[in-house]
Subunit: 342 residues, 4 copies
């Protein structure tokens, strides 16, 4: 099999990062990205010299791109003619409409967490249920919080067996640069249980999960506290050892200067990672506490980039590029340079 | 017995509210308040027409008060000569020094959560261990978060029996008007377990408690999520019924407009409560969820005012004004107008 | 003439404070307030024991009020039958529709800044153009920023003559308790010139004004910097003396603890003012600087309450209760207890 | 002359960016960076594979670096033996002490804005007074706000002649990742005039400047409004044309999606700039307004990176690599890729 040809629909916060991530996969070829309007992200693409071809979705006004001398490679349909699979990171609801087109064209697609579950054959997580995605045509990724959360719960579950989790999501309310949503000097609570707990149960049906979500006025990274009940007692050291081995979990310590979500963002910027992104979830060693059979800990979710590796895992599963979760995730990690620091 | 004569040491965020609270107790007499410098709070006291006498602690420069025409009733020692008990809300550490003076003068005292436990004979909570405070001389209140948390845990424990709690404290990082501390676009995590979980176990030693605390950039009201494990299954309805009956718990709903901590502050302002204070903790009906024997829920802690009722309970216990928790807290509630809305 | 009978349409942030302010005027009678739904403000009114009668506007579902045992005195039309004037603080746009009704009923009305200027005969400010409002039927108040700004510019203008102002509005983006709007870790700039500069020129047409507005993620009080160009040189001391004499300007100093907008909110809370409101604008003595004929200074606008006095001035003008700005504003100040601290 | 050998003292927020900037200059060689402790920035340097040599300053505990397998190339003194010039971005006050060493070693140095002016022979700005820095040994850069502000005022001054400026600095209170300083729901005002206005007059003594600074709870980019009084009338179009031509000023528009400081940070991230940095100041076309001879406008200062180009200009001046401001700044711009997008 030659390289898998990939297109990205929607060049927003997630779409940009998907395109960058795919471009690093040596067994994939990024055909291009599709969008509607000359947003800041598209203007930046132009200023960078168009590393990717740009296609225009239905409804786009090409003259606006021409005015700005932004080269256009064709229409969304033109892009679809060239790809094997689409990573659909369109605004919520558009993906479902796009699926009609994908079906007609016989193209696979992977949807992000904003779409309804019904759009896909499989609700997918690279570590928790890779095998369910094998040779499937339509997969939907878990949302950013759920993706990061499941990494850690799956990690404990495979090692020790987990029966129950109760989570508290301390959610960032907006992304950096957002002006259309925000919260000022307020914490906002959602109706419980949070969808992330419900979604975890869909992916890991043998676990009983519940949780509460509180929005907070910050932009870089959710923090989730997890109370996980083991089948048997799990000690802090056992949990720590398991987390340390996971390539997509970065264990950090207060004493080293990782004081909160902003430290992880700063660190990723200092690493020189494009956009200051991080693929790993942070997990504070100092947060791990035991209580009976419960183990409690706190993680940091870099909301803009955390789902990128699992989305690429999904491409691997969809084409059975690798047959097992170990092989699939390892290949993604290799190309994304994940876990090298360990 | 005549009215209990009460003095307040330290007219800061807590001291102001203690003075106001004592002034409403018909079986107590507020002798005055003591402080060091003409802070904004003292200037406001002057502008209000000096409803309370002001005494100056050691080190105060009286000439600064004279310049501003702020009447001074005497020294801290003068105040101590007139009181039966001091509510010590001095900055952390000063209370321990003051205790030497109280001992010499034979005066009782109640310390706030910032002092070390060793300053007091009893670590006190009006609902959880009122009887331990009976006829004691030196009592220390639990901190704001612990006070509110224990109200709800004690409420469930007395009704159903609680074995274990795991809490996540989403903490406000500063009070309104604070410029000496703050957090900007960051969540900050503390070493676990949080002291509030440890303190809960001191007050309620039969419960196993742990927890994680995350500071957030807001000023009005902590939110705490609680995972409480019952001896037996507790249903959402059972928990809700218990909470509804508690005078110092205000059950609220998202549908009524209580969307987060800022709604509760707004509501207290709209009620016309001085300073927009609220004595009750808020508890969201929509947050209560079950998971096995666990019941999970979220509460709001109005950090500036929540400890006032329990501090007044402590005066009642110290002089055995009422002999039981039911009678002691009921009297405080009556004079503070708590629970009337139920 | 007996007491002026006043109704308030819209019991939101401004309406609540208008009702409270009118209730303090000994020559006015508050007939009641009208609203649509059992908001938090209405629930608080109920919990306070209904100090004001409540009327329901068209479209209100009375059964919802009945469920909550909130007494309803009648319809909006019933209220209008009893009043001489309405303070219309309905959501923007509704006031214009209501005006049709007021015209039919022959009732005067005063609109808030959110309505278009065309709704009124006079664009009004108590200090700057009181006399223009005399015996008028429909007046519109300047917005919160413009009201406070004009107090200070008018103050300098009457004393020294002002030719030109350039303002920078550092705007609070939301009110305490707002969840429907907010800004997180961002400053947002509006198209210049800001409407406040334009409005100032409408009220004070002899002054050339321009300005830039930047939204900031805070909830308590705008800060405006003003560069005012005098006909002749104005010294810092001259400006300070003029500001000190103005009843609705509170001159504050950093050294006294007034470090920013949050200090003024804290101070108003400590004063015991209902809701922590303040009618005066704060003006920092430490901010006043000279540069040629320019004088530059910074003021604080308590956005929720600053327009209340000028709105009451407007009632006085509309009925010619007092014939001059000096008498009109003095009477409002007396009943609102403004300027007593000077 | 061979390549200028450059060392960086202090690998903090500014030091990191200076090192990156110097490394891009083809006529300079970065010898290394010196620091005290294994901060997050140093840990990131290690994880990146040590693109720069690291030297340890006096007082550093080498064993801590050894534990982390961070290679150390030598001591600060070792570094000084190899360099022609030091960019001193040590914490404020340390630079003055270091100067004694530089004098003894006969090494030139450039200090950042945090040091006192007396540490340097010249208070330097690449565009405003490049020639004053020629062949000087000790130069001090203007602070971030002053650097960006002067770019725009100098730009207008050279074209039209400026007599006077009044500025309002809407200051970000902390950098991303800061936990030791912050502000929560508050605006804080400083004693006027702000040092930036005073500093501008030191660099441009023919201009009368004053200003007010207000801290705001955000982390990405100050906004400054400038009221500049021309010798003659300056129209909006004239000012805009001048700004458009300046390589280090990026004119942006609301309609294009640049709604505030956060948009510029987002754009720099999307450009793939390391750390999401930007060397240019943003200037909103929509903010430019006229008022008599005054022109008013608003700029955005990316505080972490804005001084990098002018610091490199200072190296050019110190060694007279280029003899004029036009040549010096052009060479810096070329290597930093500044102004290419125009």
């Amino acid at each position: 099999m030659g390289k898998i040809k990939v297109g990205v629909a929607g060049y927003g916060t997630i779409g940009q990062r998907l395109a960058d991530g795919v471009a690093k996969q040596q067994d994939m070829e990024l055909i291009g990205v599709a969008d509607l309007a000359p947003t800041l992200a598209i203007r930046a693409l132009k200023e960078k010299g168009m590393p990717y071809d740009l296609y225009l979705v239905d409804g786009a006004d090409k003259s606006k791109f021409d005015e700005l001398n932004i080269p256009v490679a064709g229409t969304f349909m033109d892009m679809l003619d060239k790809v094997d699979i689409v990573l659909d990171s369109s605004p919520g609801g558009i993906g479902a409409k796009n699926k009609e087109i994908y079906l007609k064209k016989g193209i696979k697609a992977i949807f992000q967490g904003g779409e309804s579950n019904s759009v896909a054959d499989v609700f997918f997580h690279g570590y928790a249920n890779y095998e369910k995605g094998l040779n499937q045509d339509y997969l939907k990724l878990t949302s950013c919080n759920t993706t990061g959360l499941i990494r850690t719960v799956d990690c404990l579950d495979r090692e020790f067996g987990i029966e129950k989790v109760a989570i508290t999501i301390i959610r960032r309310v907006a992304d950096p640069g957002d002006y259309h949503r925000g919260l000022t000097n307020a914490l906002q609570i959602d109706k419980a249980p949070s969808h992330q707990a419900v979604d975890l149960m869909t992916i890991m049906p043998h676990i009983d999960a519940t949780g509460i979500l509180v929005h907070t006025p910050v932009t870089h990274g959710h923090i989730i506290t997890v109370v996980a009940t083991g089948k048997n007692k799990i000690t802090k050291q056992q949990a720590l050892d398991a987390f340390q081995k996971h390539p997509r979990i970065r264990v950090v310590r207060l004493a080293d200067g990782f004081l909160g979500n902003a430290s992880l963002f700063k660190y990723a910027r200092d690493l020189g990672n494009p956009r200051g992104d991080m693929y790993e979830v942070g997990l504070w060693e100092d947060s791990i506490v035991e209580s009976g059979n419960d183990i409690m800990y706190a993680i940091n979710i870099p909301q803009e980039s955390v789902t990128i590796p699992e989305t690429i895992d999904a491409i691997r599963a969809a084409f059975a590029l690798q047959g097992t979760r170990e092989e699939g995730t390892a290949k993604t990690n290799e190309y994304l340079n994940i876990g090298k620091f360990k």
